[in-house]
Symmetry: none
């Protein structure tokens, strides 16, 4: 199956945004074994879109269009496709009800142009939009298929994942299965990791092993192709085992689960709670932990102890500790963790202090970070030296915090320490 | 002059990278008054590239190709263009010398495929590569022009800026300028906004008015084309004035500045401080505010008062208030704002409470949010009803918080209230 992706939207041609949808869809389609041979971008213009569609239909079996499904006059994807392929547009009742409910809930009046978002190609499979109003759809036509998805990535990605890809998977006639598995590692660089499994990377064919570094983590994607699903999984298991024999210390899990999701899961599993005191991260750890549904059972609350006065007055960090060691120190990170834990009567406490930059602090360079982790079993602290922008340093710091907590939980609870 | 951008590279079709070159070039070309009507991406494949080029030459005067100028076998942009247009490839002496010097300096032997990077279309204007080996070029052909640029952004951007754009500028016979301006709005939907300026959108031609919704904001991009820069700006001013006459309440500014950046800027400007107490947002407001460099001058610290016990014990929210009104209430949001402000001895306080979901809380549905905003001048609270995922609800809540604070600052300080 040969696909091409057509993005509709003048904002792309004006360079206001990059076509990240095409990147995302291409990557995901490749996992489904679908080849993407072209991307195109065209503006909100009927003639030009018609020409692009006509040509795409000649050379590809699967056309994925993104954008132009919104309520305004320049959203004309559906209208153009409908004219070109001679298919009627009809109102999808479920989508219409959703839109009505949306406006009712907000006490706002639904304008007529909003109703347009419920128009669909007759005979199409409808993809609900769980994060917006415009539904997506797939419509077969003369042995090929056209798929329409909304432009905003916050709507497109969940729709693609939950409705579109499962539907496409079912349509693919190729009987060989592709299975893939992602192994995630932390606290090790990509080249260092590759070096340790150099012979495995050299010898790879099926499964393939693809390393990728991103956001301070390194992932290995193992991909296997074969007719027998069970055999595929056995092959993945075998390679995973070989890899972990060398890299177990850095392994943080499989799949898409983040360090923070894993931390929340472990705390919930063991019925434990945690509180935080954050200086350089400014609340980012708490924000990411409470992003997990059900976080109230593991997180009573935390402190954003940004200034020194606040650290002293609200968090009770002794003034002489701050004078003697400075806020950017092992001692302060440990005390922050302990005070957070005690104030909140939590099982664990974590403290973050350091220099996020761009300016130095207490004569210390950006990237120097101390993390304290405490429990009834004792308090540890770690020094980490990070590079990058202020945002990168803060994000990495939070990941290291979750990583150290997971180690502590494993040591103290899971290994019966 | 109508342009199109053709990126050559299988890595784009595999979704390994996004086509940020097209975004960059489009934006820059629009500043030169060159309309970009299409982007295409095609793999390292001679037949498919030939077809894409043939079609592009039919519909555009200026073809910008990126990528495929490197030393390996799958770099075939120059070879394909040369065949299609019947132009010879010759070695460019200066580029050849550069490549030789590069290898000599590193004590490495230059392989034959490296020399390929000095091949250029006969008669082309050469663009030196100050950050890599492959040179770029522009070649006129039958009244239109083809431009070849390297794929890596670290090479493409400086080459475009220092050599390619100045060259194109000199070639453009049309002396008209394009100016554009982005107006940002919040707390109003795209369709509702479009509805209010329907007649302006209908009548638009120069300037054009393009609405775009993203992340809870709606932007209007005004774009004007004309020979006289000053006249262009006057036309933009005039349309902006007409739009704001109807939408001033929702207007948050021009350009790319986010609500949080604007809030930090205003607080710094006026030498004011703020503290936060966050329930459903779990630290996200503090994290985003402290993401701004220099935040320590405006943010002494804050509370992540997630659980009710924490709200009471650490933030001193009266137990009877929580019993009577519940945590998800106007009263609690106001008290959180006041307590945060007082504890931190700050000029402003903000409190966030509500239901992030997916589960209801206190019998209240996800998306119901209360925000309290306090200062010495008084305390206000707002009820907001949001839709979407847990993450969306939290992010929008933080934006609303910044939005209400900006209103309060404007009312109390900037308008001398």
């Amino acid at each position: 199956m040969n696909a091409e992706i057509i993005a509709v939207g003048s904002e792309l041609l004006l360079g206001q945004i990059a076509n990240t949808n095409a990147k995302y869809l291409s990557e995901q389609l490749s996992f489904l074994g679908i080849n993407v041979f072209y991307h195109s971008v065209v503006g909100d213009n009927e003639d030009r879109l018609t020409n692009v569609l006509r040509q795409a239909a000649e050379r590809s079996d699967l056309l994925l269009l993104t954008g132009g499904l919104g309520p305004t006059k320049d959203d004309l994807t559906k209208e153009t496709v409908s004219k070109l392929l001679g298919m009627k547009l009809i109102y999808d009742q479920q989508t219409e009800e959703r839109i009505l409910a949306f406006f009712k809930q907000r006490n706002r009046k639904m304008t007529e142009n909003n109703r347009k978002q419920a128009l669909v190609l007759e005979g199409a499979k409808i993809f609900p939009n769980d994060h917006g109003l415009a539904c997506g759809m797939a419509r077969e036509t003369d042995g090929s298929m056209i798929v329409l998805l909304p432009g905003p990535p916050s709507e497109l990605i969940p729709m693609a994942e939950n409705y579109c890809f499962p539907y496409l998977k079912g349509m693919i006639s190729d009987q060989s299965h592709i299975e893939s598995r992602v192994l995630r590692f932390f606290d090790i660089g990509e080249s260092q990791l590759a070096d340790r499994i150099d012979d495995l990377l050299e010898a790879q064919s099926n499964p393939t092993i693809a390393p990728l570094a991103s956001g301070g983590e390194v992932t290995l994607r193992l991909t296997v192709k074969g007719k027998d699903k069970q055999r595929n999984n056995e092959m993945l298991d075998s390679v995973q085992k070989k890899i972990l024999a060398r890299l177990e210390d850095y392994f943080i899990g499989t799949g898409q689960q983040t360090l923070m999701e894993k931390l929340a899961e472990r705390l919930m599993e063991h019925g434990k709670t945690i509180s935080s005191a954050e200086s350089l991260t400014g609340g980012l750890f708490a924000a990411e932990l409470t992003a997990q549904p059900g976080a109230s059972s593991i997180f009573p609350g935390g402190f954003v102890s940004y200034g020194d006065e606040w650290k002293h007055e609200q968090l009770h960090i002794p003034a002489e500790l701050l004078r003697e060691h400075g806020a950017v120190s092992h001692a302060c990170a440990r005390e922050m963790a302990v005070q957070a834990m005690m104030s909140a009567k939590a099982d664990y406490g974590i403290g973050f202090t350091g220099v996020a930059g761009p300016e130095p602090l207490e004569g210390k360079a950006p990237g120097l970070v101390y993390i304290g982790v405490s429990s009834a079993g004792g308090t540890d602290s770690f020094e980490v030296r990070l590079a990058g922008s202020r945002a990168t340093i803060r994000e990495r710091t939070v990941k290291y915090g979750a990583y150290y907590l997971l180690h502590k939980i494993r040591k103290e609870i899971e290994k019966g320490g």
